[in-house]
């Protein structure tokens, strides 16, 4: 268990990762910080650009400062555990507070220059984040990152278990059509590609793939959710956010 981590119900990968990132003595601190930034950066930056209308390069600076100052140095994770609240909500609220404080500091110091000034709507439209409701930007980017992580973990798990057929049939039948708009691979294509000897084998591979995906999804969400109930609520909430666009 990383230094300072309390006993309890959160000794999961991401919590450990965040603890390691905040612990300057941790062996894998750099790796932990890198992964932390990779996981949360897109959602946090999207929120600042779309919701707060901050220029993207400035938003990135603010996110980096936020993660360093709040998540790592001020132990946001410990706060989240004490409050038993949604980590996603806490992260967003903390970011907003951090940005408001930073803006106030800059204003007081009259160091406006070209940093963190509101930008016009046309410039916002040119950003990379394709969301119709700016208030959803954070949650949508969060969900995208989360599902991308789930896919990567599932592919790795299938490879580790020599079940590339499960990954292959899931990817061709469900994942790629859902994510890239690739045409759905039909039954005969799958049989030819993976050599299933009967419909039961094909169905089993696809059912196993779907269950594995959902299991890993629950696991990934569970790494930052307080408990199973919170994890299920988080999945349903992200599903609804994505569905209403």
């Amino acid at each position: 268990m990383p230094k300072g981590q309390p006993e309890g119900r959160f000794p999961t990968t991401n919590w450990s990762l965040i603890w390691d990132a905040g612990d300057e003595h941790a062996q894998d601190r750099n790796t932990a910080v890198d992964e932390l930034l990779r996981n949360y950066w897109p959602a946090l930056t999207a929120h600042l650009v779309m919701r707060k209308r901050i220029k993207s390069h400035d938003a990135e600076d603010l996110v980096q400062g936020f993660i360093t100052a709040k998540v790592l140095e001020r132990n946001l994770v410990g706060t989240a555990q004490k409050q038993r609240g949604r980590f996603r909500s806490l992260l967003l609220k903390s970011l907003d507070n951090y940005v408001a404080n930073e803006m106030a500091k800059r204003s007081a110091l009259k160091r406006q220059a070209d940093r963190a000034v509101p930008i016009d709507p046309q410039e916002v439209a040119m950003q990379d984040y394709s969301v119709e409701r700016p208030e959803d930007a954070f949650d949508i980017e969060w969900a995208r990152q989360l599902l991308s992580n789930v896919s990567q973990r599932m592919q790795a798990e299938c490879a580790a278990n020599s079940r590339d057929d499960i990954w292959g049939v899931f990817e061709a039948r469900i994942l790629k059509p859902a994510t890239d708009g690739t045409p759905v691979a039909d039954y005969e294509q799958l049989i030819a590609q993976f050599g299933f000897r009967s419909p039961s084998q094909a169905s089993n591979a696809l059912i196993t793939g779907k269950r594995m995906y959902m299991r890993i999804l629950r696991g990934v969400v569970g790494e930052y959710a307080a408990n199973d109930e919170d994890a299920e609520a988080e999945i349903r909430e992200l599903e609804q956010i994505l569905a209403r666009r």
Partner: protein, 152 residues
């Protein structure tokens, strides 16, 4: 994979998807599934107490001149289990249902043996339902038709 291009509606589907077999395959794939089932070696899907060539297919049994009735019974049981296993089935119900009726028809036509407790009217109605499936192949349709006519 470029996650920035994830269409969000489909992502929502990924998060909420079910794993029931009925939602795995489309209606226009049922013919391919049934054809694949007929071409499958029986040893892949059936637990058999009799010796059987590992290459013997479901079609070999159902359409052969003098099939082993133990294997026909096993096909009937396999397809029946498929229609009754909630959440564990691996065949769509319509495909399993047609396979079930074909096994009964085979016993009737090839061995004049009745392996069901269904009365004639019910049996004929169910065989007609199977016969009418748009994706059904000619050999199966002919088998069912022969069985229906034999009960007239």
């Amino acid at each position: 994979m470029n996650q920035e291009n994830f269409p969000t509606a489909q992502l929502s589907y990924l998060m909420g998807m079910d794993d029931k077999v009925e939602e795995l395959w489309n209606r226009d794939e049922l013919g391919a599934l049934f054809a694949h089932q007929l071409a499958a070696p029986v040893v892949v899907d059936l637990q058999l107490d009799v010796e059987v060539d590992e290459n013997t297919t479901f079609a070999d049994v159902l359409f052969g001149a003098s099939p082993d009735m133990t294997i026909v019974e096993a096909i009937k049981q396999f397809s029946k289990n498929q229609t009754s296993q909630q959440g564990e089935a691996t065949l769509p119900k319509s495909v399993a249902g047609v396979l079930y009726m074909c096994s009964i028809a085979t016993a009737l036509v090839r061995a004049q043996l009745r392996i069901t407790t269904l009365v004639d009217d019910d049996l004929k109605a169910k065989m007609r339902w199977a016969f009418k499936q748009s994706w059904l192949d000619d050999r199966s349709r002919e088998l069912l038709e022969t069985a229906i006519n034999g009960m007239a």
